[in-house]
């Protein structure tokens, strides 16, 4: 993992394993969740507008809809994000959060 991803095809492609944290939450929380991510050390995020249903019923529409937020982070940051979420948001808001592992090209820059 020390060599850079080169233009010479024979070189192995450098990837880094990172945690992908996915958060589905009510859209009104967007600004607060982004602040939470930053505070926990995330260097970037990607957000899509979605609808959904869970224990709090159907959620759809401009201000009643959900957002799906994904961030690629180091395991420690992931842990921090989830812990913070569980403490601040789970009891009172419609939020689902989970993680999995992905292999990121040039992943160094996200850690």
């Amino acid at each position: 993992m020390s060599s850079s991803a080169g233009s010479r095809p024979e070189e192995a492609l450098v990837t880094v394993e990172l945690e992908r944290v996915t958060i589905v939450a009510e859209a009104v929380l967007e600004a607060r969740l982004l602040a939470l991510l930053k505070a926990a050390g995330a260097r970037g995020w990607t957000l899509g507008e979605v609808r959904g249903e869970g224990s709090r019923g159907v959620r759809a529409g401009e201000w009643q809809g959900n957002v799906k937020l994904e961030t690629l982070v180091a395991p420690a940051v992931a842990e921090r994000i989830l812990r913070e979420l569980a403490r601040e948001y789970f009891p009172r808001f419609a939020v689902v959060a989970y993680t999995d592992r992905v292999r990121v090209v040039r992943g160094e820059k996200y850690v």
Binding site: L29, G61, W63
Partner: protein, 320 residues
């Protein structure tokens, strides 16, 4: 024109019929909804249009002329949510946050109800004080803040200053207020240059928007059981009380019959755009089924179909 004729006319207006179409579509489980982006754009249009008109009218009147109506607005803006809160706590035995959350909705402005009242008055051939739209813009704020203050004073709510920022810079507030300022500065002449967009098609846009609102209102009725008999009664009695109060207060402040009807509706309404977002963030422990179903599912349709003509009757009776 007697009360029943008024009611009949109101119920056969394209606006109210559009609202009914939305309800029917929701009951049939048909997806008639406008795309979110379009719903949001029509909301933007309505807020700006009503603001522009209010601002242009504001530029025409002297401060003395609006002093009393402005005072009445401010007083109502502070007292209505407090009274609602007290009623919900004492008689309804609601929790502090739920009472505050519902009170915030009945204390904040519903620009669509306001607009429907203006259109109703206009369609009856009555004049109404145009600057009322500008006052409505100022009514948006205190209701929500008072309610959050009530919850906080009982240690249940969240930070004051962040709520203040959220309400003041909220999209709907800024558009309404921004419209008023633009209308005021551009004056009647300036507003006329954009009238083919912001004035002529206004009722049509409102009709389109109300189809969507009908759908949303009906979707809320799913939660009717969660609401319970007290809140159901509250959702129908509160607008009557507030509307009567508004009719009296507006008349006392010297408003015309048309203006007093609009003013009465302004107080009888329940917010369902600005308030829900602000309350969700400031009082997340409050149960949305309670405040959304009562304001959007019950009070809003009630006002649209029956309330507005009724408040007009109140005004006629008071001013007679």
């Amino acid at each position: 024109m007697d009360a029943f004729e008024l009611l009949r006319l109101n119920l056969s207006s394209p606006m109210v019929l559009g609202f009914a179409l939305g309800i029917v579509a929701a009951l049939l489980k048909s997806d008639l909804r406008l795309p979110d982006a379009v719903h949001s754009a029509l909301g933007t249009y309505l807020l700006l249009a009503i603001g522009l008109k209010g601002g242009a009218e504001l530029a025409k009147v002297s401060p003395a002329e609006i002093a009393l109506p402005a005072l009445a607005t401010l007083a109502a803006g502070i007292c209505v949510p407090i009274a609602c809160y007290a009623a919900l706590r004492r008689f309804g035995r609601f929790s502090i946050v739920d009472a505050a959350a519902v009170a915030a909705h009945y204390g904040s402005v519903s620009i669509v109800t306001f607009t429907a009242a203006s259109v109703f008055v206009e369609a009856r051939g009555l004049a109404s004080e145009g600057y009322l739209a500008a006052l409505a813009a100022f009514l948006e704020v205190p209701g929500i803040l008072v309610a959050i203050a009530l919850a906080r004073s009982a240690r249940a709510g969240s930070s004051w200053s962040s709520s203040l920022h959220e309400v003041l810079t909220g999209k709907s507030n800024l558009l309404l207020l921004g419209g008023v300022v633009i209308g005021y500065l551009a004056g009647a002449h300036g507003v006329e240059s954009v009238a083919p967009l912001f004035v002529a098609p206004f009722r049509g846009v409102l009709t389109l928007f109300l189809i969507d609102m009908g759908f949303l209102a009906a979707s809320r009725l799913r939660d009717l059981r969660a609401v319970g008999p007290f809140l159901l009664g509250f959702a129908l009695v509160a607008p009557l009380v507030n509307g009567f109060l508004g009719a009296a207060l507006g008349s006392a402040a010297g408003l015309s019959p048309g203006g007093a009807t609009v003013f009465a509706t302004m107080l009888a309404r329940a917010s369902y755009i600005a308030a829900p977002v602000a309350v969700r963030l400031a009082l997340p422990e409050a149960n949305p089924a309670l405040y959304l179903t009562s304001s959007l599912g019950l009070t809003f349709p009630f006002n649209l179909a029956v309330g507005i003509p009724l408040y007009h009757e109140f005004v006629c009776w008071i001013q007679a």
